[in-house]
């Protein structure tokens, strides 16, 4: 195997920033354990990181060409699994998106993002011309939307929304003409009122709350408002690890998962919050570099899918925590507590490192 020899080829700056972000996640989990919310969240998370490491190695070890080759199988399996969840899943927080396998409970829609990346890369990687044909666009669009529809049926808007950037990013990068993009955007704009009608009342309220955080402070604007109070009370240097009272007293809901960035900023202040953003910048910067040096079109598309995956999560999550975007419950990769998200992130990281490792045509 060439792996051992080429490990040195891996982008260590990328790996270190990912590890540092994981470290930040562990610290917040530890901090919450101190606060008495959970007994030993950080230990559980550490165990998950162990599993995630193996997943990452798996996606790094097997050549991405092989992975994309079999991605149609994975895609079929994903659709079956999502259908299964729809009928036999467990309901948590009003969405039926969890399924029990053995002693574990996982959310197939999370690793599904990785499957989507591989599947789209296989579909679009075969295209040999500069601009994407319209028929291909429709084909990819429909295939990409299929799991999204199933996830929407589960009632998990947040996760479904996160498929869109991956799809959009990869289609864009495979060469949609700008005028086609403009036409699509115009169509979406026209369809927006219809979409607004489809949204449930609480979802509408969340969007309204973005523009007016004081809207019903005990109700829907509450989460955003409490998040801002928690962050703001952290100040420049933060209150210290384990002393993020506001988030820990339950004012900020889901402070170990969706609002983990809030807790981070409350406890470590602007400095900590800025550091996390910097780590993400480095992470994405290195990934862009990998994309630039990708071996072929498939590799490039995989990279772009992974970048879209991380970047969209960062935008939506931090945007929500800082009150710039509607409150949609999605995790922040590497930082948020929880298994499914971590596994997806690890797989995505493995994929892009895979591309990184095999960047020279004949290795």
């Amino acid at each position: 195997m060439m792996i051992h020899k080429s490990l040195r080829q891996l982008d260590f700056l990328l790996i270190s920033s990912a590890l540092l972000l994981l470290g930040c996640g562990l610290i917040t989990a530890y901090s919450l354990s101190q606060g008495g919310t959970g007994s030993d969240l950080h230990l559980k998370q550490l165990a998950r990181i162990g599993i995630a490491f193996l997943v990452c190695l798996f996606f790094l070890y097997i050549d991405f060409e092989i992975l994309t080759y079999y991605s149609v199988v994975l895609y079929g399996f994903l659709l079956l699994l999502l259908l299964g969840v729809l009928f036999f899943g467990t309901e948590i927080n009003n969405s039926r998106s969890w399924i029990g396998i053995g002693g574990f409970r996982i959310q197939p829609s999370e690793p599904g993002k990785i499957v989507l990346i591989l599947f789209l890369a296989s579909l679009l990687g075969q295209v040999k011309i500069e601009y994407l044909r319209f028929s291909k666009l429709i084909q990819c669009g429909l295939l990409g939307m299929a799991p999204v529809v199933l996830i929407l049926l589960q009632g998990d808007l947040g996760t479904a929304v996160m498929y869109a950037p991956i799809l959009a990013g990869m289609l864009w990068m495979s060469g949609i003409r700008t005028k086609v993009i403009i036409i699509i955007l115009l169509c979406m704009l026209l369809a927006a009122p219809a979409g607004w009608m489809v949204l449930k009342d609480y979802q509408k309220l969340r969007i309204k709350a973005v523009f007016n955080p004081d809207l019903d402070p005990q109700g829907i604007g509450y989460q955003t408002r409490q998040s801002l109070i928690a962050m703001g009370s952290g100040g420049l240097l933060g209150k210290g690890i384990g002393k993020g009272l506001h988030a820990q007293l339950g004012y900020v809901p889901e402070s170990h998962t969706d609002f983990v960035y809030t807790l981070m900023v409350e406890e470590t202040g602007f400095i900590g919050g800025f550091a996390v953003l910097l780590l993400y910048l480095i992470l994405l910067w290195r990934m862009l570099e990998i994309a630039r040096n990708a071996r072929n079109r498939t590799a490039l598309l995989i990279s772009v899918g992974v970048i879209s995956f991380f970047f969209s999560h960062l935008v939506i999550n931090v945007g929500m925590a800082t009150g710039l975007l509607p409150a949609i419950g999605i995790p922040l990769p590497f930082l948020s507590y929880g298994g499914s998200s971590l596994l997806a992130s690890a797989a995505a990281l493995g994929l892009i490192l895979n591309v990184n490792l095999r960047r020279f045509a004949n290795t």
């Binding site: 928690a230 703001g232 100040g235 009272l245 007293l249 900023v265 772009v304």
Partner: protein, 611 residues
């Protein structure tokens, strides 16, 4: 790379993506800077406001005792049921269940809920106060099924004698929004109990303690995580009243179910010994939160149980006014001890007959008072004129509030020619003067004013009636001011009053053997002569007259004044004098160390035999 053809668009789009990422991270960094650094002070204050909660710990009110230290009002620890709506899965279902299981009044609870609808759901609502112990244990046993229900303990006012002295004590109730803005309630907060009537109201600031504050750290559900500070509440000061519960009890028992009022006071210092107004009410119903229904019933009750008749109601003084007029007549020199008039049962004045109760023949002052001869006083009044009568009425304290420490005191009316011209725009008619001379017509007064006027006659000194016992050594209103009437004139009036009770005068039923009770009866007409004609003789006596007795004892050195009015009681001698007699008797036996009179002994039996 093998895909040179597409390089151009790939790389340009990668650069765009790169720029977008850089831009977004920059925006986020600025946003985090804005939140954490630029608006730090705003958010830190918000955070504290969220997390720190100051919980008022209500201070118990001071005790109210009578002059002998018997506790009239204290506090009991009462358990209240709290509801936290945010913890309830279904508020309706919970209410349904507790009403069914614990027998709470559904409408009342709904009213409480409605009142609190405006407040955030995490703020606990006091649903029911004064829980019984079985109710408390039922709720505590279901703590897991009903996390939204909670029990708190707080001091609640308890009136040991229930309705006894209810008009003196008053009652407490939750402070209203208007009262919160009113001066004198600066210390009070919403939800506080304050005095609403009686001394509870007038001495509210003394009785009300200083609330304590618990500063606690709460989580987002309002659950207390940690107590950071506890400022202990300070109990209110105790209040010792001048009331003697023995006399109070006799006064209320003797009035019974008749509407009326009794005032007993010490004329030497103005201390109120008993002050009764019937019907009364049970102030305990107010401290546990009175329902709208109960309140409406009390307000609509024609007997007006909440009205303190002793200070808040005016009555024609009737013949009791004659002693005031007599003092005035002597002082002006219009009459002296020996002046007489001939009473033939009626006299024609200004073209119409004015009647007397019987034909008394030639009467002098003492006899005129003893037999309550109207003719004597018609003529005296005619001689004096209404304005001079008003002058002496004012010297006796009529027409102006006594300033007693009770709410809603009214000042009564002493008419003058000027008053009538100014308020009614009519001239004074001479015939009206004749009515006023026997305490009828426009003149009216509260029972307390009558008691004070009798006190003035008894001692020659004016004192301010009051309900709080001055502690020895403190400057108070104990010392009286000499009244502007010669003592020898007052003495002549006193002699007449002694005769009323002790020489088979109209007030003989108030006599107490060995105590030299002096007094004057009054039978004040309620309706005009004309409408009275239409009633039967019996009904005339029964329903058309308020019965008065006002007197003092003993003659030589007066210690106690008693004024009694029995509404629609008929003759003063028959209805009011026995009530006063009982009170004098109780006081006499108590102060002289004698045994209590047997309750079954009738008052007339003790008074009537000798002399």
């Amino acid at each position: 790379m093998e895909y040179n053809l597409e390089n151009k668009i790939f790389f340009s789009r990668l650069r765009i993506l790169q720029a977008i990422i850089l831009l977004v991270i920059a925006v986020f960094s600025l946003r985090v800077w804005q939140i954490t650094v630029a608006r730090y002070s705003y958010y830190i204050e918000q955070a504290e406001r969220n997390q720190l909660r100051r919980i008022d710990v209500f201070a118990p009110r001071g005790l109210i005792t009578d002059r002998e230290g018997r506790i009239m009002a204290d506090n009991v620890n009462s358990f209240s049921l709290l509801l936290r709506r945010d913890r309830a899965e279904c508020v309706e279902c919970t209410i349904e269940e507790i009403c069914r299981e614990l027998g709470f009044d559904r409408d009342r609870i709904n009213a409480v809920l409605e009142e609190n609808r405006q407040f955030p759901a995490f703020r606990p609502i006091i649903l029911v106060e004064r829980l019984t112990l079985p109710q408390v244990s039922w709720i505590l046993a279901r703590y897991r099924e009903h996390p939204e229900l909670d029990i708190t303990e707080s001091p609640q006012r308890n009136y040991r004698y229930n309705s006894l002295a209810s008009h003196v004590i008053g009652y407490v109730g939750r402070i209203s929004p208007e009262e919160l803005d009113a001066p004198g309630y600066d210390e009070a907060k919403p939800g506080h109990s304050i005095g609403k009537d009686g001394v509870e109201k007038t001495h509210n600031s003394t009785l009300m303690g200083k609330d304590g504050v618990r500063t606690v750290l709460v989580d987002s559900l309002g659950r207390i995580q940690e107590e950071l500070a506890f400022l202990q509440p300070v109990k209110g000061s105790d209040l010792t009243l001048t009331i003697d519960m023995d006399l109070q009890e006799v006064a209320e028992r003797e009035l019974g179910d008749r509407e009326g009022a009794v005032v007993a006071l010490d004329p030497r210092n103005g201390e109120i010994l008993a002050l009764a107004s019937m019907p009364g009410f049970n102030p305990n119903t107010f401290s546990s939160g009175i329902s709208q229904e109960e309140w409406s019933m009390m307000i609509a009750d024609p007997a007006k149980p909440l009205l303190n008749r002793a200070v808040g109601s005016v009555y024609s003084p009737g013949s009791v006014f004659k002693v005031i007029l007599a003092a005035g007549g002597l002082e002006t020199g219009i009459i002296d001890e020996k002046s007489t008039v001939i009473c033939r049962g009626a006299v024609n004045l200004y073209g119409r007959p004015f009647r007397c109760t019987s034909s008394h023949g030639e009467v002098a002052l003492k006899e005129a008072i003893r037999s309550s001869c109207n003719i004597y006083f018609y003529l005296l009044g005619q001689e004096m004129g209404v304005d001079l009568m008003a002058e002496y009425s004012h010297r006796m304290g009529l027409g102006e509030a006594t300033g007693i420490d009770l709410p809603n005191e009214v000042s009564g009316l002493v008419p003058t020619t000027q008053w009538k011209r100014e308020t009614l725009g009519e001239p004074w008619y001479a015939g009206e003067t004749i009515s006023v001379a026997i305490g009828q017509g426009r003149i009216n007064a509260t029972p307390l004013q009558i008691a004070r006027a009798i006190g003035l006659i008894a001692t020659g000194e004016a004192t301010r009636p009051h309900l709080v016992l001055n502690r020895p050594g403190t400057a108070g209103s104990s010392a009286g001011e000499p009244v502007n009437i010669a003592l020898e004139n007052l003495d002549l009036v006193r002699q007449g009053m002694w005769s009323v009770v002790n020489e088979w005068g109209t007030g003989w039923r108030a006599k107490v053997e060995g105590f030299d009770v002096c007094g004057k009866t009054g039978t004040a007409q309620l309706i005009s002569r004309e409408s009275r004609e239409s009633l039967s003789d019996e009904a005339k006596e029964q329903f058309t007259h308020n019965a008065w007795f006002a007197g003092f004892a003993p003659l030589a050195a007066p210690e106690i004044v008693v004024a009694v009015i029995v509404q629609s009681g008929g003759g003063g001698g028959a209805s009011a004098a026995p009530v006063a007699g009982k009170i004098f008797n109780t006081y006499y036996r108590k102060t002289r160390g004698l045994q209590k009179e047997q309750p079954d002994e009738s008052p007339s039996a003790g008074a009537g035999e000798q002399s």
